[in-house]
């Protein structure tokens, strides 16, 4: 098989890139971080709870819309790769939810993580619960994509 020139790889990346998608991702993460920080304050005024809860909604709506646009721009090959990746990632995600439910029942939530070597201890909270399935889906996509486009 012929080696793929770097220029072609960049052309592929440019074909799918939309700055709005990247920006919406950053905005939604930033709004979530601000809202979670404020909602986590011990002296939070109860009347401010709803405004902080609503803060990430516009960002989420934008990111969701960008995701739809991204899906619609994909060609049939990538739709197929995504479908195959979902076949792997969704059962793993369900298994992950089951494992987290078991652990949360046993240790409470957020779960304390013992820190070795004198490092500061940490907790296993919502961010970790959400990030793991996202990484699972990304990894499944990369594996399936590689299977169909990797050199023989």
């Amino acid at each position: 098989m012929t080696k793929i020139p770097n220029a072609d790889a960049w052309a592929d990346a440019r074909r799918m890139f939309r700055w709005q998608s990247s920006l919406s991702g950053f905005v939604v993460v930033a709004l979530f971080a601000i809202a979670m920080r404020q909602l986590g304050q011990a002296d939070l005024d109860p009347s401010m709870r709803l405004p902080w809860l609503l803060l990430p909604i516009p960002g989420l709506a934008w990111a969701a819309r960008e995701q739809v646009v991204h899906w619609r721009r994909q060609d049939e090959f990538y739709r197929m790769v995504n479908a195959r990746a979902a076949e792997i990632a969704w059962p793993l995600t369900l298994a992950w939810i089951g494992v987290v439910a078991l652990l949360a029942t046993a240790y409470g939530f957020p779960m304390p993580i013992p820190a070795p070597f004198g490092l500061p201890s940490d907790t296993f909270g919502w961010m970790e619960v959400i990030l793991v399935p996202i990484f699972m889906h990304m990894a499944a996509f990369l594996v399936v994509s590689k299977r169909y486009t990797g050199r023989r």
């Binding site: 793929i4 220029a7 072609d8 060609d75 049939e76 090959f77 994509s145 299977r147 486009t149």
Partner: protein, 65 residues
Amino acid sequence: MTNRVQELRLARGWTQARLAEELDVSRQTIYAIESGRFDPSLPLAFLIARCFGLTIEEIFTPGGS
């Protein structure tokens, strides 16, 4: 399904990127079709056939991997 996409593309001196552009698909789609790992949909097969000025049967053959 086996196909002659790579042979026909090279006969025209086109890169995978050029053919992808002609068909409005990603270059990986062309790569996956040429390597026999992905069978295109009927609409895309018609587009490929029209692009090379041939019929689908002249490009794609049933059987194989």
